[in-house]
C-alpha cells in the first residue's frame, strides 16, 4: 500500500469513527425522546408517583430536583466565587498555591458515590441533619465546588491585564478592583460556566442516594410554611430527586408501567439538561455581543 492509498484509507476510517459518535448521540437522544415524549403530559409532570398502580407521575421529584438545585447553588456560588478569586488574585505562586491547586484537582475527581458516603456520615449522622434536602445540597456543594472554583479562576484569568492595572493605578484597593472592574468583565464566562454546572447538579444521583434520601413524604402543595414537615419548601425533609427516582424505579420499581415512567422521567431530565446547555450557549453569545459590540 503506498502512502497515498494509506492516507485515503485513514481519512475514511477517521471520518467513519467521527460519524459513529454523532450517530451514537443522535440514537441516544432519539431513543430517549421517542420513548419518553409520548408519556409526558401535564398530569405526569404534576401528579405524585404510585408504588404499585400504573399512572403515577413525577411531580414531587421534579419539584425536589429544582429546589435542590437552587439550594445547592445558593451555597456553591458564594463559596466557589470566593475560592476562585483567591486562587486567581491573592494566591502567590509557590508551593502552597500549587498544593491548593492539587487539592482542587483531587476534589474534582473524587467519585460522587464517595462524596455521598461522606455526606451520609458527616451531614446526615454526625451533624444530625438527617436525610434531607439540606444534606443533599451540602453533598452536591462538595461535588460542585471544584468546578465552580475552576470556572471562576479561568474567567478571572481572561480579564485583560491592562484593565486591572489601570484600576489599581487609580488607587483602588485590590478588592474594589476585583468587585467593580474585573468581576463585571468576567461575569459572562462565570454565568455560562455556572449554568453548565447546574445541569450537572440536576442530573446527579449517586451523591444523593444517601444524603437527600430515596423517599419523599406526601407533599402538600398548598402549605408554603417552610417549617411544616409536609411543606414543599421545608429544606429539612427527605427528598427524592428526579435522577434518583429514575434509578429507583429501574432497580426496584413495582408499578406495571415502570418502564414508561423511567422513559418519561429520563426525557424530562435530558430535556432540562439540554435546556441548560442551550441556555448557557445562547447567554454566552448574547453577552459576548453586548460587551464586544460585534454582530
Amino acid at each position: 500500500m503506498n502512502a497515498k492509498t494509506a492516507d485515503k484509507v485513514a481519512t475514511v476510517v477517521i471520518c467513519l469513527f467521527a460519524g459513529i459518535i454523532v450517530l451514537v448521540l443522535l440514537g441516544l437522544l432519539g431513543f430517549i425522546l421517542f420513548r419518553g415524549l409520548s408519556h409526558i403530559s401535564w398530569d405526569f409532570l404534576t401528579s405524585a408517583p404510585e408504588t404499585i398502580k400504573a399512572g403515577g407521575g413525577i411531580g414531587p421529584q421534579l419539584f425536589n430536583s429544582l429546589f435542590l438545585l437552587v439550594l445547592t447553588m445558593l451555597i456553591t456560588i458564594p463559596l466557589g466565587l470566593g475560592a476562585g478569586i483567591y486562587m486567581s488574585q491573592y494566591a502567590k505562586p509557590g508551593k502552597v498555591t500549587n498544593s491548593i491547586r492539587l487539592v482542587v484537582e483531587v476534589l474534582s475527581s473524587f467519585p460522587s458515590i464517595v462524596v455521598g458516603l461522606f455526606g451520609l456520615l458527616v451531614f446526615v449522622n454526625i451533624m444530625g441533619i438527617g436525610f434531607s434536602l439540606f444534606s443533599g445540597a451540602l453533598a452536591l456543594t462538595v461535588f460542585n465546588l471544584p468546578l465552580m472554583v475552576r470556572i471562576t479562576e479561568q474567567a478571572m484569568a481572561g480579564v485583560p491585564r491592562e484593565q486591572k492595572e489601570a484600576s489599581l493605578a487609580l488607587g483602588l484597593s485590590r478588592w474594589k478592583t476585583i468587585t467593580s472592574v474585573m468581576l463585571p468583565i468576567a461575569m459572562p464566562a462565570i454565568i455560562t460556566g455556572t449554568i453548565l454546572a447546574a445541569g450537572r447538579v440536576f442530573g446527579e444521583a449517586a451523591a444523593l442516594l444517601f444524603t437527600a434520601g430515596m423517599s419523599s413524604p406526601r407533599l402538600d402543595f398548598t402549605d408554603w410554611n417552610p417549617l411544616s414537615p409536609f411543606s414543599p419548601l421545608n429544606p429539612f425533609r427527605p427528598a427524592e430527586t428526579l435522577a434518583v427516582h429514575i434509578w429507583k424505579i429501574n432497580s426496584e420499581g413495582l408499578a406495571p408501567d415502570a418502564g414508561e415512567i423511567a422513559a418519561g422521567a429520563s426525557a424530562v431530565l435530558v430535556l432540562t439538561v439540554l435546556l441548560f446547555n442551550f441556555g448557557a450557549r445562547w447567554f454566552g453569545r448574547f453577552m459576548h455581543r453586548k460587551f464586544t459590540a460585534t454582530r
Binding site: 502512502a3 484509507v9 477517521i14 441516544l28 476534589l107 475527581s109 465546588l145 484597593s173 474594589k176
Partner: protein
C-alpha cells in the same frame, strides 16, 4: 490628598487600618481566604472520615488487609463473615479498562477529525455533539443501557446480556467526551510549524498525523484516557444498573459481575453503621479513594512530561 495616601502607606499604623479602602481590602482578603479554607477543610475531612471508617475493618473487626484485597468470597452476613473484595476490584478494573480501550480510539479519531481533517465542520458540528454527550446524566445512560444495550447483547451473545461488556459499553460512551475534549485541546495547541514542515517534506496527511502529530501529543492524549478511566472507575449508578451485581469473578464478559461502586450502592442503605459489613463497605470506598489519588498522580506525571 496625594500626601495623605503616601503617609498612609508609610505609617501603616492603626489609623491607616481604619481607612475605608484598607478595611474593604481586608474584608475581601478574609472572605476569599475563608472560602479556600473551607475547600481545604472539606478534602481533609473526606480523606480523614473515609480512611478512619475504612481502616476500622482492619483494626476493630480484625480483617486482614491481604484477605480483603485478594479474597474471592464476599459473604458479609455469613457465619463467620468473609470479606473478600477481589471480585469487586476485578470488576471495577476490567470495566474501566475495557471502557477506556473502546473509547480511546474513538475519542482520538474524533479529535483528529475536529482539528486536522475538517476543522470547520468539526467546530460547528462535533463540538456540540461532544458537549451534549458530556451533559447527559449518568442515570439516563444506565436506563438506555438497560433498555437498549442489554437486550441487544442478550440477542447476539449467550447469557443474559448483563455483565462486564454491557457496563463497559455504557461507560465508554460516558467517558468519550472527557477523552475527546482533552485530545482536541492538545491537538489544537500543537505549533503549526511542525505540521507545515512535514507537509513541505512531501508527507501525506496521514503520515503527518501518525509520525508527527500523535507522537508529539501522546502524553496529553494519555492524560485524557487516564482521566476518562478515573471517571469510569468512580461511576456508580449507570454501571450498577447493567452489570448484574453478582459478587463473584465472572468467567465471561456476559456474566453477571460487580464493581466496587455497585457493591457500595446496593448494600450501604441496608447495613447498620458500625457493623462489620458496614465497615467493609467503607473499606471499599477507601479503595476507590486511593485509586483516585493514584489516577491524579499519573495525570500529574503525564502533564509534567507534556510540559517538557
Amino acid at each position: 490628598m496625594e500626601q495623605s495616601a503616601v503617609k498612609g502607606q508609610k505609617t501603616n499604623s492603626k489609623s491607616a487600618f481604619m481607612k475605608p479602602h484598607i478595611r474593604e481590602e481586608w474584608v475581601g482578603r478574609v472572605y476569599t481566604f475563608v472560602c479556600i479554607l473551607v475547600l481545604i477543610a472539606t478534602i481533609l475531612a473526606i480523606v480523614y472520615f473515609v480512611a478512619s471508617k475504612g481502616l476500622s475493618t482492619f483494626i476493630t473487626n480484625g480483617v486482614n488487609i491481604g484477605d480483603l484485597l485478594t479474597g474471592l468470597k464476599w459473604d458479609p452476613e455469613g457465619e463467620p463473615a468473609v470479606f473478600g473484595a477481589l471480585p469487586f476490584i476485578f470488576g471495577s478494573f476490567s470495566t474501566s479498562l475495557l471502557a477506556a480501550l473502546i473509547a480511546a480510539p474513538l475519542g482520538c479519531c474524533a479529535a483528529i477529525f475536529m482539528t486536522q481533517i475538517m476543522p470547520g465542520a468539526g467546530r460547528r458540528f462535533m463540538q456540540p455533539v461532544i458537549e451534549l454527550l458530556a451533559g447527559i446524566p449518568s442515570v439516563v445512560y444506565g436506563f438506555v443501557g438497560l433498555s437498549v444495550i442489554v437486550p441487544m447483547l442478550r440477542a447476539i451473545f449467550p447469557g443474559q446480556g448483563i455483565g462486564i461488556l454491557a457496563g463497559s459499553l455504557v461507560l465508554a460512551v460516558m467517558i468519550l467526551p472527557t477523552i475527546t475534549s482533552i485530545a482536541t485541546d492538545a491537538l489544537a495547541a500543537l505549533p503549526g510549524g511542525l505540521k507545515e514542515g512535514s507537509f513541505a517534506l512531501g508527507a501525506t496527511r496521514w503520515q503527518t498525523i501518525y509520525r508527527i502529530v500523535l507522537p508529539t501529543t501522546l502524553p496529553a492524549l494519555l492524560t485524557g484516557v487516564v482521566l476518562g478511566m478515573a471517571r469510569a472507575f468512580g461511576e456508580a449508578l449507570a454501571v450498577q444498573m447493567v452489570i448484574g451485581n453478582a459478587p463473584h469473578i465472572p468467567r465471561s464478559l456476559f456474566e453477571s459481575a460487580s464493581t466496587l461502586t455497585s457493591a457500595i450502592t446496593l448494600s450501604m442503605g441496608n447495613t447498620i453503621s458500625g457493623t462489620a459489613h458496614n465497615n467493609a463497605l467503607w473499606s471499599l470506598a477507601l479503595i476507590l479513594l486511593t485509586m483516585t489519588f493514584i489516577f491524579v498522580f499519573i495525570v500529574r506525571v503525564l502533564e509534567r512530561r507534556n510540559h517538557r
